[in-house]
């Protein structure tokens, strides 16, 4: 008996030490940390994102890494628990000695923001919260695409222009001079879902949209009938969905079965290939703020993305992959392109990488996203977003909204950092 357990122990140690040996053998590498959610409240979108991160890093390494130096990726699942994100970050900083971190949710990114600023650690997040775009407050936070607030403003603008003003079903009310009505469905306790709400209400006032009482829907909701019934009393024309795909699909199905009769606009993390699959006919006509091409959609890099998805993660079939993969590539390409510049200048550290990112003007990553520009005073990557609509289960481009063109004064002076 004892012999057997000794044998197991040896086998375990051999695999572990062998692997560790292989890992530590590689020298002259650059270390990156990635904090992902594969088991927590946002794992419905987090798993695909995590796969995408690993694939994109493999691609960057294949085309030569950072000027010849390979990237070593440390990836860890924190289960959407903030205390664990904090210790994982500290491990990356003090133990693995990474030069930059690829982060995940708004809650932990905003919670870690004071710490990373102090540590001068570039932090490219999957949270596109507009709170992270003011370099005066959060100089080391960055992301590659439209922030939540601008995305929401764009989506509501697109609905207002293309549906409210044109659709025949609203003709009678338009002619009477009535205002459209909007209700927000989101998890108030989640910083991700509540991040763009202030901007949405501001934008509704700007366009002359009436806003009804907010409905609190959990990120893990399986039933939203009471919220839909609560919203129904207000008779909304438009519902804003601020959660992730699973919760959004639940809310849409309940709205459909209870005959809410409103159109839907969805935040970026609630709008992907799974939405029409989960919500079926309830998702027809829903519009979403998208930040890049869908998986298999039109983009110069799409062939490579698909090839790497197949090569690195052959167990996950292509029809199960999501737009999240492309978003992950965006985060990786933004960071690694900046690292290449910083490395050439011999400043591969926090400050050097951020300076390099701030030189990007109209940078196109080939992912079908809007070109991104950064400056030392403004970290909002884009000035609008392409708005897609679900028609017969497929995504169709409605309009690419440019907020800066339409409201230049407000864009420059008012809409910064929220």
């Amino acid at each position: 008996m004892r012999k057997k357990s000794l044998l197991w122990l040896t086998a375990f140690l051999m695999t572990f030490l062998g692997a560790a040996g292989m890992v530590w053998a590689a020298q002259g590498e650059i270390r990156l940390g990635s904090i992902n959610d594969m088991t927590g409240a946002t794992s419905d979108v987090g798993k695909d994102y995590a796969l995408g991160i690993a694939e994109a890093i493999a691609y960057v390494n294949d085309i030569g890494g950072i000027n010849g130096k390979k990237i070593k990726l440390f990836q860890y699942d924190y289960g959407y628990r903030i205390p664990e994100a904090v210790t994982t970050y500290k491990r990356f900083r003090d133990f693995d000695k990474v030069v930059a971190v690829l982060g995940w949710g708004t809650g932990d990114t905003e919670a870690l923001s004071p710490t990373i600023t102090k540590d001068k650690m570039p932090y490219v997040s999957a949270s596109y919260s507009a709170h992270l775009t003011d370099p005066k407050k959060t100089p080391y936070n960055l992301f590659f695409c439209t922030d939540y607030s601008s995305g929401a403003r764009s989506a509501i603008t697109a609905w207002y222009d293309n549906v409210w003003k044109k659709d025949a079903k609203y003709k009678a009310r338009r002619d009477k001079g009535e205002k459209p009505r909007l209700v927000c469905f989101y998890m108030a306790a989640s910083p991700y879902a509540s991040a763009p709400i202030k901007a949405i209400k501001d934008h509704a006032a700007l366009l002359g949209i009436e806003v009804g009482p907010d409905q609190d829907v959990s990120l893990t909701a399986l039933d939203t009938k009471s919220q839909v019934l609560g919203a129904k009393q207000f008779k909304p024309d438009l519902v804003w969905h601020g959660n992730t795909t699973m919760s959004v699909a639940t809310a849409m199905r309940d709205a459909y079965s209870l005959g809410l009769g409103a159109d839907h606009v969805v935040n970026v993390w609630g709008f992907d290939e799974n939405l029409p699959r989960l919500a079926g006919p309830a998702a027809e006509g829903a519009m979403g703020a998208t930040v890049c091409a869908f998986f298999g959609g039109k983009a110069p890099m799409m062939n490579k993305i698909q090839a790497y998805a197949k090569r690195i993660n052959p167990g996950v079939p292509a029809n199960k992959r999501l737009v999240r993969t492309i978003q992950a590539w965006g985060a990786v390409l933004l960071l690694t392109d900046a690292m290449k510049i910083a490395d050439k200048q011999g400043k591969l550290n926090g400050e050097g990488i951020m300076k390099a990112m701030e030189t990007f003007k109209n940078k196109d990553f080939g992912l079908g996203s809007q070109p991104a520009s950064f400056s030392a005073t403004d970290h909002r990557p884009t000035t609008g977003a392409p708005i897609f609509k679900i028609e017969k289960g497929k995504f169709v481009l409605v309009e690419a909204v440019d907020l800066k063109k339409r409201w230049p004064d407000k864009w420059e002076k008012e809409w910064m950092g929220w």
């Binding site: 890992v23 088991t39 860890y76 699942d77 628990r81 205390p83 905003e110 919670a111 600023t117 910083p191």
Partner: protein, 355 residues
């Protein structure tokens, strides 16, 4: 019960109730003090300081749960709510009224204690499963409703906000590094643990234990069980509030997501694994839960480049392991790690004649 070396006889009650009864114990405590205040922070590296800070926060959070469940028999599944009340009160007092941080922390503790008493009131009438339901209500009413919808709006910062650098100070000292926060936490934890341990050997503590063991018998002996239960809720809430106020200093950021129901459950897990009805148990449980999570990182992070499946497939087990660990502890070690520690100590105390 504890064993004493030969030749040591207690003649007074003070000796019998002293914390450290022999020189050997005092020596061990000095070594522990040196470890906590010198070796770990100055030789351990910042990463371990970070892990220790999280452990300290878990200990402080779990102390209140230990008091309620382990010493007073009032099962609670909503303790994160009181931690949150302390965190929000302290932060808003610091930011809005510019009170000193330690004073805000103390007031945060008091407010959390009173809030806890409010949700402890049903314990006068209900027990067991029904009390669990009311503590669950505390969690959702406090965190998801009152704090998210109303309290977060004070000052117009929104649900998630960070504190400007340099706003957390103790006198002239700005708490701006992991090390300073660690020292603050270590001192607070020691004070709270000593305070609670002292309470437990007083009349109040004996009354709590009597209520836990049999509330009807306790009442017939003249203990006013409602007063003492509410007192337990107050002390537990107070300790939770201090823990919350301390957590603010570690991150300088706050949102309701820090205090989700999962964290309440986690704290109950901590005391189940550590040992119900033992202050040691709280500390061992916290160490176990934090170190297991960190240990997993040590195994998984270096292995993922070689076995990529680990990240995607194995990590799902992590959530299951938490439940499994509690099941296994309840089956094979129902008294928790604290009991095992007691046995180990006795083995050495009685060696070589352990019969």
């Amino acid at each position: 019960m504890q064993y004493l070396p030969c030749g040591i006889y207690h003649e007074y009650y003070q000796q019998d109730h002293a914390w450290w009864q022999t020189r050997f114990v005092i020596g061990k405590m000095i070594l522990l003090g040196i470890f906590i205040f010198y070796i770990l922070p100055f030789w351990g590296g910042l990463y371990w300081v970070g892990v220790a800070t999280l452990t300290i926060y878990t200990i402080m959070g779990a102390l209140g749960v230990q008091l309620l469940i382990g010493y007073c028999g009032q099962v609670t599944l909503g303790h994160a709510a009181f931690i949150a009340v302390g965190a929000y009160t302290a932060t808003l007092l610091t930011l809005q009224l510019h009170l000193p941080y330690l004073l805000s922390m103390f007031i945060g503790g008091l407010v959390a204690g009173l809030w806890s008493v409010l949700f402890g009131l049903p314990s006068a009438k209900v027990k067991g499963f029904y009390l669990i339901m009311t503590s669950l209500a505390a969690q959702f009413v406090t965190v998801d409703f009152i704090l998210t919808q109303y309290v977060s709006q004070i000052g117009g910062r929104g649900q998630a906000f960070s504190l400007p650098p340099g706003s957390i100070t103790i006198g002239p000292l700005v708490l701006d590094s992991d090390l300073k926060v660690y020292f603050l936490g270590a001192v607070l934890t020691i004070l709270l643990t000593m305070g609670l341990a002292n309470l437990l050997r007083s009349k109040v503590g004996r009354a709590w234990i009597a209520i836990r063991d049999n509330d009807i018998a306790a009442e017939t002996m003249g203990i006013n069980i409602i007063t003492y239960k509410l007192m337990a809720f107050f002390v537990a809430g107070f300790i939770g509030g201090i823990a919350g106020a301390f957590w603010v200093s570690t991150l300088a950021a706050l949102s309701p997501e820090h205090f989700q129901w999962f964290w309440s459950l986690w704290l109950v897990g901590v005391i189940l694994i550590g040992g119900v009805g033992s202050i040691y148990g709280t500390i061992f449980g916290s160490l176990f839960m934090v170190l297991i999570m960190e240990g997993l990182k040590f195994i998984i992070i270096p292995l993922t480049p070689v076995y990529p499946a680990l990240t995607m497939k194995f990590l799902f087990l992590k959530e299951a392991t938490f439940g499994l660990a509690i099941c296994l502890f309840l089956i094979y070690e129902p008294n928790g790690l604290a009991y095992r520690w007691w046995q180990i100590k006795n083995y050495f105390n009685l060696w070589p004649f352990s019969y």
